[in-house]
């Protein structure tokens, strides 16, 4: 890849916006493109809305039941990528669907009510006490955010307690202008603001600023930047990384990078694939790779250089080319993966021809090929292979076989690249289709095997019990729901199989009693419509900002969590929520 993609800091209020945000021209070309339909569905979830308003993503940061409003989201909104070309990041009102560019509408800020910040904060920050206010805010934010994680330290709670009623377990506000701390519930903070005239309170768990004059949490760009920086710093400390790339570059380096790089086009990575004759099974799998944060980051960081690679018919190069194309080209029309197709056919003849193939099989094929063409692969154990495919998808499955006679347990550990789950419990109720968690439960519950085995320990033939559990979870979990039954008659189970946005995999692990929770978040769903042999694949994927999109070959449309949860999933892709 010859183009460096640099993640830029969000544009400041008075910065030169021509460079930082995408130009309005791109939005016009998006909406006028005839080949690609981009429609904003009527009720997009307000994913990237005002931070101060109760957020969509499930609070992971604050650890106490009494939520402080305005928690930082786990999927941070990167102001640039879809920013409107106006000064502040979310200037078309608090309920920006985050896709202002997509709708091709340029909001006339004069007509929009003052939804950002409040007059009082504005006044404060343009007054002579500006510096002092910012300094106080910075200190208060530091206190709030650093204390937040100390959940068993009573002194942390004491610092944040209401000084009037001494309540510890309730939302409190720290006064911006004096050391007073008052609670929200009994209106002690409000009383302080009335009595002394200090109208700004800082939420003692989230650091968000509350204006007592407006009786509202307010969003101010400058203050939010301060708060965000502290959040980032704390998160970096947790990951034991003390470096944040952009702030570590010397001014010369910074200039070098800026002069030689191009801003990525708006909504980079969002593009459909042309159907080149029943190739939708390929398109959906490719989308799942493009939207897989770990795979995406690896390719975008240049780990497989298609210009230098010497291999013939290299699928790694084809995928790298697709990533380059999707993330640097401003074209939004569907991409025709002709080269990928021919390379696939040359590698595996059974893929050639115009018949519909199984998307899951294609996934296995492409992952296998990416491993084979990787420079980072290890020749021995796949369990510990260093290629990106195995580092991302490979876990370990433990099989325990218990002999009922001598109680000897035979343990086998195998690599696990994906989970294929049965949708019915034949022993219980064969007609009922299970939900995802129930399928997982069934998968990991002990099963008495019908055929007798010879126990090597006690040398008797027994009906053994077998139990599968996940010994090591992969970073990305791909799940196949076995909708295609090949019994006497080939049948497809078309029923809706309920699945969650967040999946706790801990109960299905070998050490299921562990206190540590392994929570996964959904980022991709592949669906199949139609009959077993003649059908069509579509998919829904979540992008970097947390927005869901439907991909139907070259047609990309905005979706929503609600819609995604209703879909008839065939393949599910989950990624681990926190790396700690």
């Amino acid at each position: 890849m010859s183009t460096v993609i640099v993640s830029r800091a969000p544009p400041s209020n008075n910065a030169n916006n021509k460079r930082a945000s995408p130009s309005p021209r791109s939005s016009a070309s998006l909406s006028s493109s005839s080949k690609r339909k981009l429609s904003v569905s009527s009720g997009p979830s307000d994913q990237s809305g005002n931070r101060a308003v109760a957020r969509k993503t499930v609070p992971g940061a604050a650890s106490s039941a009494h939520e402080s409003h305005g928690n930082s989201s786990t999927m941070k909104s990167n102001g640039t990528a879809n920013g409107n070309s106006t000064a502040s990041p979310k200037s078309d009102g608090k309920f920006s669907s985050g896709v202002g560019i997509m709708s091709g509408i340029n909001v006339d800020r004069g007509l929009v009510p003052q939804a950002i910040g409040c007059v009082h904060v504005k006044q404060l920050l343009s007054s002579p006490s500006q510096e002092l206010a910012l300094k106080s805010y910075r200190q208060a934010v530091r206190v709030a955010l650093e204390l937040r994680d100390r959940t068993t330290d009573i002194s942390a709670f004491q610092v944040r307690r209401c000084r009037t009623c001494n309540e510890l377990l309730t939302t409190t506000f720290m006064c911006l202008q004096c050391p007073s701390v008052g609670c929200k519930k009994s209106k002690h903070a409000e009383a302080h603001s009335r009595d002394v005239g200090h109208i700004f309170g800082i939420d003692s768990r989230s650091g968000n600023i509350y204006c007592f004059a407006c009786k509202d949490y307010v969003y101010n760009y400058t203050l939010e930047k301060i708060r965000g920086e502290r959040e980032d710093l704390l998160e970096a400390k947790k990951l034991k990384k003390r470096h944040q790339m952009t702030s570590e570059l010397s001014p010369d380096d910074k200039q070098l990078v800026e002069l030689n790089s191009k801003a990525p086009p708006c909504q980079a990575g969002l593009r459909g694939f042309q159907n080149m004759g029943s190739t939708c099974f390929m398109s959906v799998i490719l989308q799942s790779l493009i939207h897989n944060p770990i795979i995406r980051n690896d390719f975008l960081s240049g780990s497989h250089d298609s210009k230098r690679c010497q291999r013939e018919n290299c699928l790694g190069c084809r995928i790298d080319e697709i990533f380059t194309e999707f993330f640097t080209s401003p074209t939004t029309t569907g991409y025709g993966p002709a080269l990928l197709l021919t390379t696939s056919w040359k590698t595996q003849r059974s893929l050639a021809g115009y018949s519909e193939q199984d998307a899951h099989e294609f996934l296995q094929f492409i992952l296998d090929q990416l491993h084979a063409t990787s420079d980072a692969k290890s020749s021995s154990d796949v369990d510990y292979c260093g290629c990106i495919v195995h580092r991302t998808f490979c876990g370990q499955l433990q099989s325990d076989i218990v002999c009922p006679n001598c109680r000897n347990v035979t343990v086998t550990i195998d690599p696990l690249m994906d989970l294929s789950l049965e949708l019915r419990d034949r022993k219980l109720d064969a007609s009922r289709i299970l939900g995802l968690q129930q399928c997982l439960e069934k998968f990991t519950s002990p099963e008495k095997l019908e055929t007798k085995y010879m126990c090597s320990f006690c040398s008797t033939r027994q009906e053994v019990t077998k139990q599968l559990t996940i010994k090591r979870l992969p970073l990305v979990l791909s799940i196949q729901l076995k909708r295609f039954e090949h019994a006497l008659k080939s049948n497809k189970i078309d029923d809706h199989v309920p699945f969650p946005m967040q999946l706790d995999m801990t109960p299905y692990t070998t050490n299921s009693r562990s206190k540590k929770r392994y929570v996964y978040e959904l980022f991709g769903v592949v669906c199949h419509q139609g009959k077993i042999n003649t059908g069509h694949y579509t998919c829904s994927m979540k992008n970097r900002e947390g927005l869901w999109f439907n991909f139907d070959d070259a047609v990309v449309t905005l979706s929503s969590e609600k819609q995604v949860l209703k879909s008839r999933a065939y393949l599910l892709f989950y990624i681990i929520k926190e790396l700690s």
Partner: protein
């Protein structure tokens, strides 16, 4: 005033023993599993969208009662049970 002292001691035990953290995490997990967060978020989004001049306090007034009602009964019962057991353990 003895009540206030008792309350303070209970809170101290709650926090320092880690029980507060455990209870919070348990509650969060149950609410996630039962779709409560999704329901309330949708409710809040819809309410906000209908507000002409969106305001946090107004939002809370409109959403809080229903949000509380949406908490599944069994979660309330379980959590109360856990709190009760904790209190029985520490109060003699």
């Amino acid at each position: 005033m003895a009540d206030a002292q008792i309350k303070a001691k209970v809170n101290q035990k709650l926090i320092e023993s880690g029980e507060y953290e455990r209870l919070s995490q348990y509650l969060r997990q149950k609410l996630i599993e039962n779709g409560w967060y999704e329901q309330v978020t949708e409710l809040a989004s819809d309410t906000l969208r209908a507000q002409e001049n969106p305001n946090f306090e107004k939002l809370v007034d409109l959403v809080e009662p229903e949000a509380l009602a949406l908490v599944p009964e069994f979660v309330k019962v379980e959590l109360l049970g856990m709190i009760k057991r904790f209190l029985e353990d520490i109060v003699d």
